[in-house]
Symmetry: C2
Subunit: 228 residues, 2 copies
């Protein structure tokens, strides 16, 4: 059988493409027309060879001796990441974070309009958050189908997060952005990205402590040194 399936981009490269895109959008806004892998590498804080390899997964869109064209590359990255269309988002959990996401207008212009928000609390159902009315979570399937939702954001309490995930998957969603500090049990056919500030802070804590210990042991060493 002929290799019809799409060229697969390594996960690590996929995670960097949005960062490149962000930088290229900035370059474009400042009227930069062309860039070299060296320049993008410096801006992205990575190795130039890595930039070239990452971009080469999209195809050979550079010109040797010249570099890459900003607008053309933006187009290619957007195509590859699936950003030529909009992906509708539904928020599950109308708490502080959920409502903030629903009101925040920053995602629609970037291609991810929040088109619905649901909750299971009768007191919240029917209330307005920005332009959206909170729906009953039991209507999730219908809402997903009617509004062609493809991404679900879980902003419930930790205890409700797993059933929120179950409901989303039941409704046909295969992409989940999870804000609850819990590892969701989901089939491998579903993608999840976790956003957990506690985890991020704890990772920082580890390296911070590491630095402190190194400094301490150096000082220790110095004060132990026998003066000649």
């Amino acid at each position: 059988m002929t290799q019809l399936q799409r060229r697969r981009i390594p996960d690590a490269a996929v995670a960097r493409l949005p960062v490149y895109l962000q930088i290229l959008n900035n370059l474009h806004a400042t009227n930069v027309v062309r860039f070299s892998s060296d320049e993008l590498a410096a801006l992205a804080g990575v190795n130039a060879a890595k930039v070239r390899k990452d971009l080469s997964y999209l195809g050979s869109y550079g010109t040797r001796g010249v570099g890459y064209e900003v607008t053309y590359l933006i187009h290619q990255i957007r195509r590859e990441l699936g950003l030529m269309r909009e992906w509708n988002v539904v928020v599950v959990g109308a708490g502080n974070l959920g409502c903030a996401l629903a009101k925040f207008g920053g995602f629609a212009p970037r291609g991810f309009p929040v088109v619905g928000i649901v909750d299971n609390d009768p007191k919240k159902i029917g209330q307005l958050t920005g332009a959206l009315k909170v729906s009953d979570v039991r209507n999730l399937q219908k809402l997903v189908r009617d509004l062609e939702v493809t991404i679900g954001a879980i902003t419930t309490s930790t205890s409700a997060a797993q059933s929120a995930a179950d409901a989303l998957i039941e409704a046909g969603i295969a992409s989940i952005l999870n804000f609850a500090p819990i590892v969701l049990a989901i089939p491998s056919s579903v993608s999840v990205r976790n956003v957990d500030l506690g985890v991020e802070l704890q990772i920082l804590s580890y390296y911070e402590q590491m630095r402190i210990e190194q400094t301490d042991s150096k000082n220790q060493q110095e004060s132990n040194a026998v003066p000649v």
Copy 2:
């Protein structure tokens, strides 16, 4: 020279330890006393061998044939991650997100109290956000020294984020949690964790599109199949 320096834990393992810790805290709350690497692996959604190897970086704290003790492991992970003490956080940027972080009480109990918030907008300086008064960013150095701040969270606009980072580093901060969608230019001695929902959504978008294309090509194949 004797190997005084701390056993170094691989970055990938460091990033998983907070997740294990979260799960173990839950187990502890439900009165679970012991667990096996298989059980934790299932809960964390990873391979059991990986769990054992990750935990082995802390030392040999399991018992063969039995498993690990929840409370003891919690203690060891906390020690290793540097969670035996508090790490004070300062928020730079008193916008929606910055104020939300300052008001949100969820970090203090987990060892990361937000002890200050600064901005450069005279209209915001002096205002109250929760229990904190917004300080002038020019007082950052003093604030960091007086309140023993070790972590800075950047919640400014994108355009102000780099100077916020510069100010934090100038003030002696070496751990930054960055919410602005920009790659910060910082010396290698400083740790940064980026939290960018746009990036997360775009990664989801890639895999979502991938799935759709695969389904499409399968349907294509089926309809092309010659019936016998």
